[in-house]
C-alpha cells in the first residue's frame, strides 16, 4: 500500500498533535480498506446472484479433493502405526460391541490393581482377533491414564492384505519377541495370546481347551524385563465364530493357513464374518511377579517351561470355573 500506516517511528516524548495526526491517518486507512472491500464484493455480487456460484463450488470441491483421505487419519502415527484419529473413530464401534453386542463382564480390573505396563496373557479364541481388540479396549477404558495397550496378532493375519493396515491403525502388532519387548520397555502394556494360531483355529468341540503355550515366550519376556504377567481368561469369544471344520487345500490357494467353516461363514459370504452375539466374561487373575527370579532366569529353560505350564494351568482353571458357572452362552 502506498500510504504509510504510521506517521513515523514512535517517540517517547511525542506531543498530542502527532497522536492526533496518527489517528487521522488510521481512520483514513480504515475507510480506504472498507471501500476496497465493498468494491470487491460488488464485483462478485452479480456472479453469486446468477444461481450457482461455480467458482466457489469448484474451489470447495478442489479443497475437499486435496484433503481426501486426510480427514480419516492423523498426519502422525506412533512407531507401531497406531493412529489416534482411527482409534477415536473406531472407539464408538468398540464400545457398542463391548457393551451391547457381547455385554462383557469384566472382573479383576481395578483402577490400581494390575500395575501397568504389564504383559496380559489370555486364551486365544475366535477366528478374528476380537478378543485382543476387546481386551485392549477394556483395559484402555478402565485405565485411561496409561498408554493404550497393544494386542499381538499372529503372523497369518497380520500379513493378509487389508487386515494389516487396519490392525496396525487400531493398535495391533505382529507377535514377536522384539516387538513385545520394545512395547513393554516404552511403558505400553501388551495383550498376548501364546497359543497362537493353534488356539484361534480350534474347532468348536475343542473350545476352552488350552493348547501349548508356544515356546514360553511370554514368560521369558516377563522374566527378562521384570514386568508383571497378568493371566486373563476370556469366556464367550469361542462362540463368536464356532468353527465346525477346517478346509486346508482350498485355503492354500488364497494364502490362508486354513479355511474355516462356521454355521455362517462361507455360506453368507462376508456377512458370515459378523461375530455371533455371545455373552462374554473377562477374568483378570492376580498379577504374577517374576521379579525375584531375576532377569537372567529368562535363559533358564527348565524354569521357563515350568512357569509356562503353571501359567497355562492357572488360566485353564479360571476358564473351567467361569464356563461351569455361566448359565447360557447368549444370555
Amino acid at each position: 500500500m502506498s500510504e504509510p500506516s504510521q506517521s513515523g517511528p514512535s517517540r517517547p516524548e511525542e506531543d498530542p498533535g502527532i497522536g492526533q495526526e496518527r489517528d487521522d491517518v488510521q481512520r483514513a486507512l480504515d475507510q480506504f480498506r472498507r471501500e476496497v472491500r465493498a468494491r470487491l464484493l460488488e464485483r462478485r455480487a452479480p456472479e453469486a446472484g446468477s444461481g450457482l456460484d461455480w467458482e466457489d463450488l469448484f474451489e470447495s470441491a478442489r479443497r475437499r479433493l486435496s484433503t481426501i483421505g486426510m480427514v480419516e487419519r492423523s498426519a502422525e502415527v506412533d512407531e507401531f502405526g497406531m493412529d489416534d484419529v482411527v482409534i477415536a473413530k473406531w472407539n464408538r464401534l468398540f464400545d457398542a460391541l463391548a457393551d451391547r453386542w457381547w455385554r462383557i463382564d469384566v472382573e479383576g480390573l481395578d483402577p490400581g490393581s494390575p500395575p501397568l505396563p504389564s504383559l496380559f496373557v489370555a486364551n486365544a479364541s475366535g477366528l478374528l482377533p476380537w478378543d485382543g481388540i476387546m481386551l485392549a479396549h477394556k483395559i484402555a477404558r478402565a485405565r485411561p491414564d496409561a498408554p493404550r495397550p497393544r494386542f499381538l496378532v499372529a503372523d497369518w493375519l497380520v500379513t493378509q492384505p487389508f487386515a494389516q493396515p487396519t490392525l496396525a491403525g487400531i493398535g495391533g502388532v505382529r507377535a514377536c519377541r522384539e516387538n513385545a519387548e520394545r512395547l513393554l520397555r516404552s511403558g505400553r502394556s501388551v495383550v498376548s495370546f501364546p497359543e497362537g494360531l493353534k488356539g484361534s483355529a480350534k474347532v468348536f468341540r475343542e473350545r476352552y481347551r488350552l493348547r501349548r503355550f508356544g515356546r514360553g515366550g511370554a514368560v521369558r519376556i516377563a522374566l527378562a524385563l521384570g514386568v508383571p504377567l497378568v493371566p486373563v481368561a476370556v469366556i464367550g469369544a469361542e462362540e463368536t465364530h464356532p468353527v465346525l471344520f477346517k478346509v486346508g487345500s482350498l485355503a492354500r490357494l488364497v494364502g490362508l493357513p486354513f479355511l474355516p467353516v462356521t454355521p455362517t461363514f462361507p455360506w453368507l459370504g462376508p456377512l458370515g464374518l459378523v461375530p455371533l452375539p455371545s455373552r462374554w466374561r473377562m477374568r483378570f487373575g492376580a498379577p504374577l511377579d517374576f521379579g525375584p527370579h531375576g532377569p537372567e532366569a529368562a535363559d533358564d529353560e527348565i524354569l521357563v517351561d515350568r512357569l509356562t505350564v503353571e501359567l497355562r494351568s492357572s488360566i485353564q482353571r479360571m476358564i473351567d470355573e467361569a464356563v461351569r458357572t455361566r448359565d447360557s452362552v447368549f444370555a
Binding site: G81, Q160, Q164, P165, R174, N179
Partner: protein, 328 residues
C-alpha cells in the same frame, strides 16, 4: 584438529565412486573445511567441477586386477581413510556387471585397504539389505541378520559384500570399519529408483498393503557420513530419520494419488518392464512397499545425535523441492 576419539583428523581421504551422490557431495563438503584434507577420487569418469581441487585416479572396480591398482594408488597417495561409495544407484539389467562391481569390486576395495594399511574404511550400506519380509519385527536392530531379497540382485550383491566385510573385520581388527546403513534417502537432490517412484504424481501401491515407511534426509545422511570420515566411529549404524509414517499418509501429505493394484496383477504387469529396466522381477522392488523393513536408529542417534529431519520432514522436503522444480 582433534576429533572425539582423540584421533587427529585424516590428512588424506580416498573416495571410491566419486561420481555417486554421496561421493561427490562428501568431496564438496570436505573441500569446504577450513583445512581441507587431500582427497583422492576413484571412479571411471572424471568428476565434473572438482578438477584441480582433488586428485583423481581412474580405477575400474569391475576389472579383475583392480585390487592391486587400487592398493598402489592408496600407498602412493598415503591415504589414511577410504570411503567406499561405489555402489549402483539403480540396478541395471546387466546383472553380471552389477555383481562384478558391487560384490567383487568391494572385495578389491577391502583387499586394497588391507594391503595399503589404511586406518579406516567407511562403508555405505542400506537398510534395504535387511530385506522386506512379512516376519520382520517392527524395528530392525543392527544385529538383525541381513536377509536381503531374492529377486533384487543389487541387494543380494551388497548383502554378499557385507558378509565378506564381516569376515574382513574379524581378520583385520586394527583397521576400523564404519558401516552406515541408510534408510531410503529423500531430499531435494538425491535421486534413485525409490525417489523416481515417489516423484510421479500417481504412485503405484499394492492393494491392501500399507506398510510403515522410514526415510532419512540427504543432508542428515551426509552429516553422519562426514563425521564418520573425520572422526573415529567404528561399528555398524542404521542411519534413519526418527518416526515412521504409513505409505498412504505419505502420499496424502504429498498430494499424490495412490494407484493401488492387486499384488498378483502388478507383479505380472511389471514383469517385462521391470526386468528390462532393472534386471529384477517386480517383487524385488515392490515387496519393499508391501512388508516392513523399518530400522531401529537408536544406536546411531546416540552416537551422532538426532537427525535434523524426521522421516516425515524428509518426505516433505523432497515433495516441496520437487514442486518448486516444476514451477521453475
Amino acid at each position: 584438529m582433534v576429533s572425539e576419539g582423540g584421533v587427529s583428523a585424516p590428512t588424506s581421504i580416498a573416495i571410491t565412486g566419486l561420481g555417486s551422490f554421496f561421493g561427490r557431495r562428501l568431496a564438496q563438503r570436505l573441500l569446504e573445511l577450513p583445512r581441507p584434507p587431500k582427497i583422492v577420487g576413484i571412479d571411471l569418469r572424471r568428476p565434473w567441477r572438482l578438477e584441480g581441487r582433488i586428485g583423481f585416479h581412474r580405477v575400474d572396480l569391475g576389472d579383475p586386477a583392480a585390487g592391486g591398482k587400487l592398493a598402489e594408488v592408496l600407498v602412493r597417495e598415503r591415504v589414511e581413510r577410504v570411503v567406499h561409495a561405489a555402489f549402483r544407484r539403480d540396478p541395471t539389467p546387466d546383472v553380471e556387471a552389477d555383481h562384478e562391481l558391487e560384490t567383487v569390486g568391494s572385495i578389491h576395495v577391502m583387499n586394497a585397504c588391507a594391503a595399503a594399511k589404511v586406518d579406516h574404511l567407511v562403508w555405505l550400506s542400506s537398510t534395504m539389505l535387511y530385506g522386506a519380509r512379512p516376519d520382520n519385527p517392527n524395528f530392525l536392530g543392527e544385529e538383525h541378520p541381513l536377509r536381503g531379497h531374492a529377486d533384487a540382485h543389487c541387494v543380494r550383491n551388497r548383502v554378499e559384500a557385507e558378509e565378506l566385510l564381516a569376515r574382513f573385520r574379524v581378520k583385520h581388527r586394527d583397521l576400523h570399519v564404519s558401516a552406515l546403513r541408510f534408510a531410503w534417502v529423500m531430499g531435494p537432490e538425491f535421486e534413485d529408483r525409490v525417489v523416481r517412484h515417489f516423484a510421479s504424481p500417481v504412485v503405484t501401491t499394492l492393494l491392501g498393503y500399507d506398510p510403515l515407511v522410514q526415510f532419512v534426509h540427504e543432508e542428515d545422511a551426509l552429516d553422519v557420513l562426514e563425521r564418520c570420515v573425520l572422526e573415529d566411529h567404528p561399528g555398524t549404524y542404521n542411519v534413519v530419520g526418527p518416526g515412521v509414517l504409513p505409505l498412504s499418509t505419505l502420499l496424502a501429505l504429498g498430494g499424490k494419488r495412490a494407484l493401488p493394484l492387486p499384488t498378483p496383477l502388478l507383479y505380472r504387469l511389471e514383469h517385462w518392464l521391470s526386468q528390462s529396466r532393472y534386471g529384477d522381477l517386480p517383487a524385488g522392488f515392490y515387496d519393499y512397499l508391501r512388508w516392513l523393513f523399518v530400522a531401529d536408529g537408536a544406536r546411531g542417534w546416540d552416537r551422532f545425535g538426532e537427525p535434523v529431519y524426521s522421516s516425515r520432514e524428509a518426505w516433505i522436503s523432497f515433495v516441496s523441492s520437487r514442486r518448486m522444480r516444476r514451477y521453475r
